[in-house]
């Protein structure tokens, strides 16, 4: 092993304990949740932390709590547990389906929402679903705790706004709007076990008059971070989610997409399919919202 390999492993049992360890070890430390990204990076040599601080012994990070309709998801809860949580399935089915799409059963046994978010891949499946639900990220660090909108966390591929010594404790989901539902769809060339070519999440609410009273649209893998698309949301607002409104939304989605060319797809292909996918996600969210009302 090279000198750069980790020199210590700690598994604190409290948030305060983890904060103290991270303050002590500074930039030489990395937090470990499910490890599905971190351990692969250790193997590839992409990261060389001297200290690994395992967060999974902290009860707060391993629990899903319900409080007055809100859902507080511990940052390190494994996907295999989260995807079956009754309250998540009932109120946030789109986030549940995004969670269930991450990797294999083996990866599901470890991967977490906090890790998926903080790895800051533009193609992370759960980030668009968190965006349309306007999740808040609870962060702990040397300065105490703070909460930021999920949109403020990822700043670029592999980059976050977390300061040194900070880590994500939980994701907070406010009670969803009445008669609303979310949906998430992604495109991959195989049927399972791949990284999104594009991903689209939509949350829609239907007013008493049958018209769309709230719309949120978020896209993955078409920009340096997952993005909300206000023009696409405006295209749906007040409409009956009819063909004309969906077409306006599709055009707005394509206009907002700034994808890259890579082995998973070209710019032109991604821009085309993100429109199709967002439209289907909107239709699915609409069906769910109507079924719920």
């Amino acid at each position: 092993m090279s000198d750069a390999s980790p020199h210590g492993f700690e598994a604190p049992s409290s948030v305060e304990g983890a904060v103290a360890l991270l303050a002590k070890h500074g930039a030489a430390a990395r937090v470990l949740a499910g490890g599905t990204d971190l351990l692969a990076q250790l193997k590839s040599g992409g990261r060389h932390p001297r200290w690994i601080v395992d967060l999974k012994r902290i009860p707060e990070l391993m629990q899903v709590r319900e409080a007055e309709g809100a859902l507080v998801i511990g940052a390190a809860v494994p996907a295999a547990e989260l995807r079956e949580h009754p309250a998540l399935l009932r109120r946030f089915p789109g986030l549940a389906e995004a969670t269930a799409l991450i990797g294999s059963e083996q990866i599901q046994g470890r991967a977490s929402l906090g890790g998926n978010l903080c790895n800051a891949s533009p193609a992370a499946d759960t980030t668009p679903a968190l965006l349309v639900n306007e999740a808040e990220v609870e962060i702990a660090g040397p300065g105490g705790r703070r909460r930021v909108p999920v949109a403020a966390l990822c700043t670029g591929p592999g980059r976050t706004s977390l300061a040194e010594g900070e880590f994500v404790v939980a994701l907070h989901l406010a009670p969803p709007l009445p008669r609303s539902a979310d949906a998430y769809l992604r495109l991959i060339p195989r049927s399972e076990m791949d990284i999104a070519v594009v991903g689209a999440a939509v949350r829609l609410a239907q007013g008493p008059d049958g018209r769309c009273s709230a719309a949120r649209v978020a896209l993955g893998a078409v920009a340096p971070t997952a993005i909300r698309v206000p023009d696409a949301e405006a295209a749906l607002m007040g409409s009956r989610i009819d063909a004309a409104a969906l077409e306006r939304m599709t055009l707005a989605v394509r206009a907002a997409a700034r994808p890259i060319d890579d082995k998973r797809g070209t710019v032109a292909y991604r821009r085309q399919v993100i429109g199709v996918l967002a439209r289907r996600a909107a239709e699915r969210a609409c069906e769910r919202a109507r079924a719920a009302s």
């Binding site: 210590g8 351990l39 193997k43 690994i52 395992d54 083996q106 990866i107 399972e192």
Partner: protein, 162 residues
Amino acid sequence: MKRLHVQTRINGEAAEFLCDPHQTLLDVLRNVVGLTGAKEGCGTGDCGACSVLLDGRLVCACLVLGAEAEGRAVATVEGVAAEGRLHPLQQQLLVHAGLQCGVCTPGIVVAAKALLERNPDPSEREVRFGLAGNLCRCTGYDKIVRAVLDAAAELREAGAGR
């Protein structure tokens, strides 16, 4: 580098080992504990050859640190055959010739057993999706899927398909 003393349970029995902080559970199982059933295919969580259960949950041992096993329960393929008798999954893999080189087989057995415990009567589609994290480069999967479906039927008939 300080070595860590880890106390855990492996296949139902108390176990302890010394490991480096960076050492994966897979490396510990194979090279410290001497359980070589879990295989290293990719080492990055893509192939499933190192599938084990950690506190009952299916994981890739290459993506777990040995130190994380402290106080947990690890189950490996070595614990699947009870008292020297092959588990129906193992027997059906033999009957169907669901293995050739054998490198993926321990992971397939562990993952399929976990699948059948969750879902004793899976469809072919459910088996294929459930085992999507276990790559096999020899069989083309059909024989593995048939073996799992037949083992599921056998377990249901025996009333033991927990």
